[in-house]
Each structure stands twice: as C-alpha cells, then as structure tokens.
C-alpha cells in the first residue's frame, strides 16, 4: 500500500470516528432536550463558550439550544478526580469501560453510510471496509459490548453492580437469539447476501422501497431486541436506578463513567444505523434513484443521517413513554414471546420466499 492511499484511509477513519463521537455527545444533549420537552421544561440552555457564545444573534440562540453543553459535560468528565476504590479488582475495573467502548466504535467500520457512482459507472458504497459478512461482523462485535458491562459489574466487587452485570448477561443472551432470528428472513429475501450494501441496493429495487413494508414483524422483533441490546428503557435492566442504585456503573466515576456513557450512546447510533440499513432503505428513498456526482453522494449521506436521527429520537421518545419492565417480564418476553415469534416469522417467510421462487 503506498503512502497516499494509507493517509487517505487514516483520514477517512479519523473523520468517521469524530463524526460518531460527535453524534454520541450530541445524542446526550438530544436526550436531555427531548426529556425536557416531554416534561414541559426548557432543558440545558445556559452553557456558553466565550467567543461563540458572544456572537451577536447566533450566540444566544446557540446557547438556548444548549449547543455548548456537550463540551461542558465532556470537560467535566475529563477534569474530575478519577477515583479508584480500594475494594475493586483494579485491572478489570479499568479494563471494563474500554471493553464497553471499543466494540461500539469498531462496528462502525463496516457500516455503509452513503453511495456514490464510481468511475466504472457502478453504484458503490461509502464505507470504511465493505465486508461481505457485514451484518455478521456487526452482530458479533456489538455483542462484545456486554462483556464490558459484566466485567464492570464483577470487578466493582459490590452488590448492586454485580446484580447489574448478571442481569446484563442474562438479558443479552435472551435477546441475541430473537435478534438473529428476526434478521434471517431479511437476508433470505435479498438472496442470502450478508453485505449491508447489497441489502440497501436490493431494497431500492423493491416496489415499496423499504423492507419494513414487506416484513413488519421482523422489523418489530428486531427493534425490540435492539432496545434490549442497547440497554435502553424499557429494558435497562443492568442500570435500573430504582432497584440497583445505578447498576453496573455504581462504582464508576469521572472519565471511566464517561466512556460507559458514550459507549451506550454510540451503541444506540450504530443500532439505529443497522435498523435503517436493513429495514428503512438506508440512504435510498422509495421510487427515487439518485444520479451520480459528488453532490448526490452527499445527499445520500444526509438522507441516511436524517433517518438515523429520527430513529435515535424514537429511542428517546420510547424512553420517556414506557416504564421499565420487571426483570421476570423481560425474561418472559424474550424467551416465551419474541423467540417463538421470531422462529414462526422465519418459517413463514421461508415458505413465502420458496413459493415466490417457484412461480
């Protein structure tokens, strides 16, 4: 690999990381703003940065929107004292936030986020690494994130984090199955390719455009499992403040907590991205084919971004609507409802697809 190619790759990777990290930071702000709006509050609206906050018209507007808040939050995590409790297993205690954070950052390498027309006249994906086993990679790596939570819960050597860790592992195992099962019909539908780009392009050729119209049940099961996988309410068993103090991150503070936190939001963004790619047509719009050129490549990225953003908003909307399930209800829903439903769904679509191919 020559030097220019290498630099180009590194630039792309750094760009992607900064975008996802920025989105995670602003997802926190969005969460706070959405929560505030639902509760009739204005939300964070005071933080200012000297130069930008003092601009004549834009400054106050940005301040009211809380645009500078994530910077303050991040700096707070960075400059706080980083305590290391005496009773923890130090090595794993420090390792856990990293284990939670790194998978969330890794999965984005295989996530396509737009398309362009290359010199050969073919539609090609905008992606860091166009893996043929894309979705398999995402499922495999993103479920590694739970090890961070389990490890953190165990290494904290304290009752509540321990219970949180146990719950996290049980919940992950339960919903991983339903999640995988719910995705199989989608891949069968598009001829068995696991490449995310192929699936998005496949959807563009469909009459209604998006998979969700053809396989609503798969989408529903996947969405519910996604909520469970990302530890979002109503499935935030590992954290459940009411019964477990703060669950797995009770003993964590400062930047280590910040890593857990950003990792969680990165998971949400990646999860929303995967849902968008598989069920909402990715960067395509039903019935519209984007022409070639750099401008339309940017438009495709924007379409994808808006869809992901809408889904992230949906995550938050659900959070402030539904109360947390009881632990036994979570288990019952996972094993007794979603898993049989996913299997039935799989069998149904297997028959349907076989019939379509017959005639």
């Amino acid at each position: 690999m020559d030097l220019i190619q290498f630099i180009w790759l590194v630039t792309k990777a750094v760009l992607m990381i900064s975008v996802v990290m920025g989105c995670s930071a602003y997802a926190v702000l969005m969460e706070r703003k959405v929560a505030a709006a639902i509760q009739w509050r204005p939300g964070p609206n005071r933080t200012q940065i000297p130069i930008f906050g003092g601009l004549p018209v834009i400054g106050p507007i940005l301040t009211r929107l809380g645009i500078f808040q994530p910077a303050a939050d991040g700096l707070k995590f960075l400059f706080k004292e980083d305590p290391l409790p005496k009773h923890v297993n130090q090595f794993y205690y420090v390792l856990a936030p990293l284990v939670a954070f790194i998978p969330a950052m890794t999965t984005m390498t295989v996530m396509p986020f737009g398309s362009y027309v290359n010199e050969a006249g073919e539609v090609a994906p905008l992606v860091l690494a166009n893996l043929d086993i894309g979705i398999l990679f995402i499922l495999a790596v993103s479920s590694l994130g739970v090890y961070g939570i389990v490890l953190g819960g165990w290494a904290s050597n304290s009752k509540f984090p321990f219970l949180g860790g146990i719950r996290a592992s049980a919940q992950m195992i339960s919903y991983e199955l339903a999640m995988g099962m719910s995705l199989l019909p989608v891949f069968m539908w598009f001829g068995g390719s696991l490449n995310l780009f192929d699936i998005v392009q496949g959807q563009a050729d469909l009459l209604l455009g998006w998979t969700i119209f053809y396989q609503p049940l798969s989408a529903l099961i996947f969405l519910v499992a996604l909520f469970a996988e990302t530890n979002r309410l109503p499935f935030d068993m590992p954290e459940s403040e009411t019964d477990l103090v703060a669950g797995f991150n009770t003993e964590y503070g400062a930047f280590k907590f910040g890593l857990f936190f950003v990792g969680e939001y990165a998971h949400i963004i990646i999860g929303s991205g995967v849902f968008t790619l598989l069920f909402l047509g990715g960067w395509t719009l039903p019935g519209i084919t984007l022409p070639g050129g750099a401008f339309w490549a940017v438009v495709s990225v924007l379409i994808f971004f808006v869809k992901v953003l809408a889904l992230v908003f949906f995550f938050m909307w659900i959070r402030w609507t539904l109360p947390r399930f009881r632990y036994d209800q979570v288990m019952k829903l996972g094993w007794q409802r979603l898993l049989p439903l996913a299997i039935a769904n799989l069998v149904f679509y297997a028959i349907v697809i076989a019939l379509i191919e017959q005639f």
Binding site: A36, A37, I38, Q39, W40, R41, P42, W317, T321
Partner: protein, 179 residues
C-alpha cells in the same frame, strides 16, 4: 352502602400484545412534547408575588417623607426570636415633627434571626414596619445581614397613608382640643 362489583374483563388479544397501549402512550408523550415549557427561569424571571405576602420586614415612610416609626419598641418586645433591636432617640425641637417627640436613633433587624411571622407588622401602632415582597436575601457575613435603619428604609420605601395621624393631632392641638 351497596357494594359495586367492578367487572374485570379479560384482556383482548390486541391489549395483550401491548402494542396499541405503547402507541397510545407515544401519542400522549408527543402531545406533551409540543406543549410550551412551564419553567420559570428564576434569576431572569421572577414570580408574581401575591398581595399580603410576608417577605423581609422593612421600615416605611409616609408620602410626605416622614419616618413613621416612633420607637415605641412594641415590635422589639413582641418579636418571638428577638430579631429587632431599637435604640430610641428624640426629634429636634426645631423640626416640623417635633410634636411626634420620638424617632428611632438606630433600628436593627437581624435577618438571620427573623422568622417572618409578621407580629411586628401586626403590633405596630404607626403602621411603620411592613413585611413586603422581598423573598431572597444573601450576604457574605453575619454582620452584613443585620439590617440597619438606613437599609431598612431603602428596602421599605414609601407606602400610602390614609390617616396622617400626626398632622391631625397637631391641628387639634393648635385648635385647643388636644387630649
């Protein structure tokens, strides 16, 4: 009393899937999201203080600018936490209000002791001390929060007076029927 038996219907299939309920709930939260914020952004916005509110006790002057307190010390005696301390003083012979005879030389209210009970206002025969609408106080030392006469008059300002009691007294005295 008759017992009313509430019928418990079994859940329908739609209800058992929980999905219509979730959609209904989402509708409710969305409706609330679109409502304006009700927050009072405190230091920038102040609440409307209702009439008759018992805030910080202050001393007032009448519309002619005369200080109303005659240092009778009733408030000092009635004050449950002993927050008030008055040093009585006289009025100069040459003054127009010489017939009032007394005025406070110094009037101190210790705001760290005051319990805002309003007894001082109730007991005052001259309507000179009023609990008005100031509800937020702060200071950097204990001494700073012992309000002196000057500060109390600054806070109190002027309130309307229906009687002008001392003017009437003076007139009656000049007419020769003082009691």
């Amino acid at each position: 009393m008759a017992i009313k038996v509430v019928e418990r219907k079994p859940l329908s299939l739609a209800e058992r899937t929980y999905l219509p309920q979730i959609i209904g709930g989402l509708g409710i939260t969305m409706k609330n999201m679109l409502k304006p914020a009700v927050t009072l952004e405190y230091p920038d916005e102040r609440p409307d203080i209702p009439e008759g509110y018992r805030g910080v006790p202050t001393l007032v002057k009448d519309p002619k600018g005369r200080e109303k307190c005659v240092s009778c010390q009733l408030c000092e005696f009635v004050c449950p936490p002993k927050a008030i301390r008055i040093t009585p003083g006289g009025i100069e012979e040459s003054s127009d209000e010489a017939h009032v005879e007394k005025a406070p030389e110094e009037f101190e209210i210790n705001m760290l002791r005051c319990i805002y009970c309003g007894y001082c206002q109730e007991v005052c025969p001259e309507e000179a001390i009023w609990l008005q609408n100031i509800f937020s106080l702060n200071g950097l030392s204990r001494e700073e929060l012992v309000f002196k006469k000057k500060k109390l008059y600054e806070l109190g300002g002027t309130l309307p007076d229906d009687h002008f009691k001392w003017d009437k007294k003076k007139k009656a005295e000049e007419a020769g029927n003082a009691h």
